[in-house]
Assembly symmetry: C2
Homo-oligomer: 90 residues x 2
Amino acid sequence: MQISPIELLGLVAGFFGTFAAAPQALKIIQTRQARDVSLVTYLFAMTGGVLWGVYGWAVDSLSIVFWNGVSLLMCASIIWLKLRHSGEPG
Amino acid sequence: MQISPIELLGLVAGFFGTFAAAPQALKIIQTRQARDVSLVTYLFAMTGGVLWGVYGWAVDSLSIVFWNGVSLLMCASIIWLKLRHSGEPG
């Protein structure tokens, strides 16, 4: 498969956008605290990811489809961690 | 300006993806707590937003350019709130 420079840029962009969620996931795993993390934020991000995936498929963009698929997994992980480690306020 | 159904889908997708950050910003404003929120996550998201903006301009996608511009503002707001309200651990 041939990847154009533009699609390469899209892959790098997707890397940052998608793996932005990774430090948040690691932070929750390390501190076992997620009280201040917004659940709605990651539910919205998941919804956006699904719709972007359909958009990327429609405009035939490999970058958009691929990274939004990964993004869904990242957001789902944070939602699971958030629900598990929200803990008590304070 | 004519907006195709596909671009309309992109605008809705961008709405969710971009305004995902809003509940996080509101949560920090309301609770004045941001200890558990990852700073690196929003720095990565900003970097991704800049690169996606260039990508969207290159592939001539209104949705991608517009929403990533808004996204930059949202991420910058959360970074500012995070630095202001991180507070003490505990």
